[in-house]
């Protein structure tokens, strides 16, 4: 009897895996209406196949120019020029550089001026210190940003990220630490 039961399980695993992703968002909905509660689910980006990847133990000093999408989960100091491609700064990513790209998504920290022809997204774990120039910006609650935002109109020529100006001098990076704070 025991032997028979041991044989049957292999096809089963796909079924138990299915419910959690369905149930979790449903249970999370009422929690999301309470302001002071932070969602427990970490917001993690996916590294896409074929995307250039700088791992979290890698430190790059200098200029990166690429013609493919780039994911930075390590540290980059210098400049990043991706023009028509996207940059994702992962949760462990720390970029101290002026960045020019089509689209920029930040989960970690970015210190520098940023020019994105399409979109800049600062996720709730992300922080940017610098001047932004883009057509569209998405800022999640809890994200930190200090600097200026210039929205480019369609057809307006996108300029490369300016060197850090005297107008916005980003101070040392920090996290929001207020007592009883619900939303960073």
């Amino acid at each position: 009897m025991w032997g028979k039961k041991d044989i049957t399980p292999p096809p089963a695993p796909p079924e138990p895996q299915a419910p959690p992703p369905v149930n979790l968002p449903q249970e999370a909905k009422p929690v999301a209406t309470t302001l002071m509660v932070k969602p427990s689910e970490p917001d993690r980006p996916q590294v896409r196949p074929g995307q250039a990847h700088i791992g979290k133990s890698v430190l790059v000093k200098g200029e990166i120019a690429a013609s493919e999408d780039l994911y930075v989960d390590g540290e980059v100091r210098g400049a990043i020029d991706l023009r028509d491609y996207s940059l994702t700064v992962g949760p462990n990513g720390k970029v101290e550089a002026n960045v020019t790209a089509r689209e920029i998504v930040v989960y970690g920290s970015l210190n520098g001026n940023v020019a994105a022809s399409e979109k800049i997204e600062i996720r709730k774990t992300g922080s940017i210190l610098g001047d932004l120039s883009t057509a569209r910006i998405i800022i999640e609650d809890g994200a930190y940003f200090k600097g200026s935002i210039d929205i480019m109109k369609p057809g307006q020529k996108q300029e490369a990220a300016k060197p850090i100006s005297s107008v916005t001098k980003p101070g040392p990076q920090h996290t929001f630490q207020m007592a009883e704070s619900g939303k960073g």
Partner: protein, 218 residues
């Protein structure tokens, strides 16, 4: 379900605001703001203005300001205050907390901004920082530019709720609870006139939720 007393939901709105002001827990809500209306009336007709929001970044404020063709700068005075307050002074460094606070949070070229949204962050600064901050704000505001600041009418030491002020439209704010803090001092109209004495004009709006809205013009 329709309101039975007063205008369409007006009484209920005020009751909710007053309840929120008195209750132990902060409540997310919308409120009308005469100060905000005045602030944007002062800027009406102009484009490509430079607006500084010192209440932290929010998508609503970014959208509202940039969709009107203005350039938005953001900072967060409360975060800046906490950093200066929490960080120990480094040995051998002469810069005190006030100088550091101004350098890290209000270090902009003179006469750079057409409008500054300070919200309620000024009232949590200590005396020295407060005067230094107001002086810096005056310096970075263009002549004719205006500043919007809020001050609670509560007594000194009373704990007040601090909100993130998100602009819904030119006269409506969405208040999102942020934290609570005791007021280091109480402000009345005379204190405020003295505080903004070097500006060209000061205008007050006293709201029913114990918040004094102040529009200051350089």
């Amino acid at each position: 379900m329709a309101p039975t007393n007063g205008g369409p939901g007006l009484a209920a709105d005020y009751a909710r605001i007053e309840r929120a002001a008195r209750s132990a827990g902060p409540v997310e809500m919308d409120r009308q703001s005469n100060g905000l209306r005045q602030f944007f009336e002062n800027l009406r007709g102009e484009t490509r203005l430079h607006i500084l929001d010192l209440g932290g970044v929010s998508q609503a404020n970014v959208n509202f300001v940039t969709l009107r063709g203005h350039k938005l700068y953001t900072g967060d005075l409360l975060v800046g205050l906490d950093r200066v307050g929490v960080a120990p002074r480094e040995p051998g460094k002469a810069a005190g907390p006030t100088a550091r606070f101004i350098k890290e949070n209000l270090n902009f070229p003179p006469a750079h901004f057409d409008g500054i949204l300070v919200w309620d962050s000024l009232e949590f600064l200590d005396e020295e920082m407060l005067w230094a901050a107001v002086s810096s704000l005056q310096a970075i505001l263009k002549p004719g530019g205006c500043l919007l600041s809020f001050f609670h009418t509560h007594a000194k030491g009373e704990t007040v709720h601090i909100y993130r002020y998100q602009i819904r439209d030119h006269q409506t704010l969405h208040l999102q609870p942020r934290c609570s803090r005791p007021l280091p001092r109480a402000f009345n109209n005379r204190n405020l006139e003295r505080l903004f004495g070097n500006f060209h004009a000061v205008k007050f709006f006293l709201a029913k939720d114990n918040l004094r809205e102040v529009i200051v013009t350089r």
